[in-house]
């Protein structure tokens, strides 16, 4: 069966989303066109508004609707601690532990030579700028304990050590090869507790 033009276009757009194969895209598309008009309008508006209103925080590089973001402008947080993570979802995961009261810096990725992602593709320049003020006493590297996260941590450690700031690596209370965003709260809290200085 040949899909009617508009439906085919919807399938095509949906199948560009991560983790959505052609079959899933078709299933979603057929589901969407059978919904009441107002539901679909709400979905479309949510998509457009999210894209329009979400930007990168000029301080921590996290995604936000206000700049600086709420975590950066919260006076209760400790400016001396800076936790470096790969992505926005890692911030959410760490916030769920309620263990950590410092600030964050979001790299928006990890070094992955095989994917052509080097230090230049990450928000490292912004991190260095933040350290200029001298307020940060400790940088906690909380990248994933997989090869890309480890490479990123090693790279940052070499880059930051000469600046005289203390650099620690979140402890491996977590399985090697895992990913911060999928860890349960207890494991994450333990890992944060047992962080160590990186050599």
């Amino acid at each position: 069966m040949v899909l009617p033009g508009p439906l085919a276009r919807l399938v095509e757009e949906l199948s560009r989303l991560p983790g959505i194969g052609p079959k899933t895209a078709q299933r979603l598309a057929f589901h969407i066109v059978e919904q009441p008009q107002e539901r679909v309008t709400a979905l479309a508006n949510a998509l457009v508004e999210a894209r329009e209103q979400i930007r990168t925080c000029s301080v921590c590089c996290n995604l936000t609707d206000v700049d600086p973001c709420r975590l950066c402008s919260d006076p209760q947080r400790d400016d001396a601690l800076l936790c470096v993570v790969e992505g926005p979802r890692d911030v959410m995961a760490l916030e769920r532990t309620r263990e950590y009261r410092g600030r964050y810096h979001v790299l928006r990725g990890a070094i992955s030579p095989l994917d052509g992602i080097g230090p230049g593709e990450l928000r490292i320049r912004e991190l260095l700028d933040r350290l200029q003020s001298g307020e940060v006493r400790e940088v906690i590297l909380a990248t994933d304990p997989d090869p890309e996260g480890e490479a990123t941590a090693m790279y940052l450690s070499r880059l930051l050590k000469p600046l005289g700031v203390k650099v620690t690596r979140m402890a491996r209370g977590m399985p090697v090869g895992g990913s911060v965003e999928y860890m349960d709260e207890v494991t994450l809290a333990k890992a944060m507790e047992g962080r160590r200085e990186i050599t």
Binding site: G19, I111, P113, L114, G116, R158, V176, G177, G178, Y182
Partner: protein
């Protein structure tokens, strides 16, 4: 078809919510790609054996798609230093990308499997990674039908004898003598660089870790092999940029004298 295979993880990419697609260089089936389901979940049994650069034993299922399913995996040698040292990670990534790019899927090659394993093992054991990847480059060219001419001039057949004015033509695939070497594609090489290339070829893979070059020879050998490879591989190698960015990293001062590096 279900089969057991020794393999080396050349690549491991996140796929969907919790899966990974790994590229394995296997001994019996050559390069294959396999999906490892649920491997990014905390308690997955497959997590360890699907780590990049791991040498393991795998149980694979081949269906009708071009993607196998990884059913079981067991680590033989973790080769963990390759993941825990930034420079080694960069070199090992380069080695794996090169193999991935040059090998065709599902074409077994016992020799190449042994070669890659020997190179990664010696890298893990602390041999200079620079020489090991140069060795790998030449050995892959030799094995895969692009054997560069290093015994004499490609054009006139004049036998190599150490002297100035010789060069390498990557496009044509070998040495060019001083008399024939007028084309702009010919890169001049010092006699020492040519001898280094020839010596590399005479070494068995298990001994490639002994290779060391002076800084100047290292640069020449690297450029010569790059010319030869670029004529055979389409598009740039992604890992090369990272290796270069490490060499130019802010914490690297003038350490050109260090054996094996440049």
């Amino acid at each position: 078809m279900i089969y057991h295979a020794e393999g080396i993880v050349l690549r491991s990419q996140p796929f969907g919510e919790a899966d990974r697609i790994i590229t394995l260089l296997t001994r019996p089936e050559g390069k294959v790609r396999a999906v490892a389901r649920g491997v990014r979940r905390t308690r997955s049994r497959l997590m360890g054996s699907t780590q990049l650069f791991t040498y393991g034993s795998y149980l694979l299922v081949r269906g009708r798609s071009d993607l196998e399913t990884l059913s079981q995996g067991e680590i033989r040698e973790s080769l963990r230093r390759l993941r825990e040292d930034l420079d080694l990670m960069a070199y090992a990534s380069y080695a794996c990308e090169l193999v991935d790019r040059m090998m065709v899927e599902r074409e077994p090659d016992e020799f190449v499997f042994g070669l890659v394993l020997a190179v990664l093992r010696q890298m893990e054991a602390g041999s200079p990674p620079f020489g090991l990847v140069r060795y790998l480059e030449l050995a892959l060219l030799d094995r895969l039908g692009y054997r560069p001419e290093l015994d004499g001039c490609l054009r006139c057949g004049k036998a190599w004898s150490p002297g100035n004015g010789w060069g390498i033509d990557g496009e044509a695939g070998g040495l060019i003598c001083p008399e024939c070497g007028t084309a702009p594609t010919v890169r001049r090489l010092s006699p020492g660089a040519v001898e280094s290339l020839r010596r590399m070829r005479s070494l068995p893979a298990e001994r490639a870790g002994v290779l060391r070059f002076s800084a100047e020879t290292a640069r020449e050998v690297r450029s010569a092999l790059r010319d030869l490879l670029d004529a055979r591989i389409e598009g740039p190698l992604k890992t090369r940029a990272f290796l270069e960015s490490l060499e130019a990293a802010p914490w690297k001062e003038a350490n050109h004298g260090r054996a094996g590096s440049d």
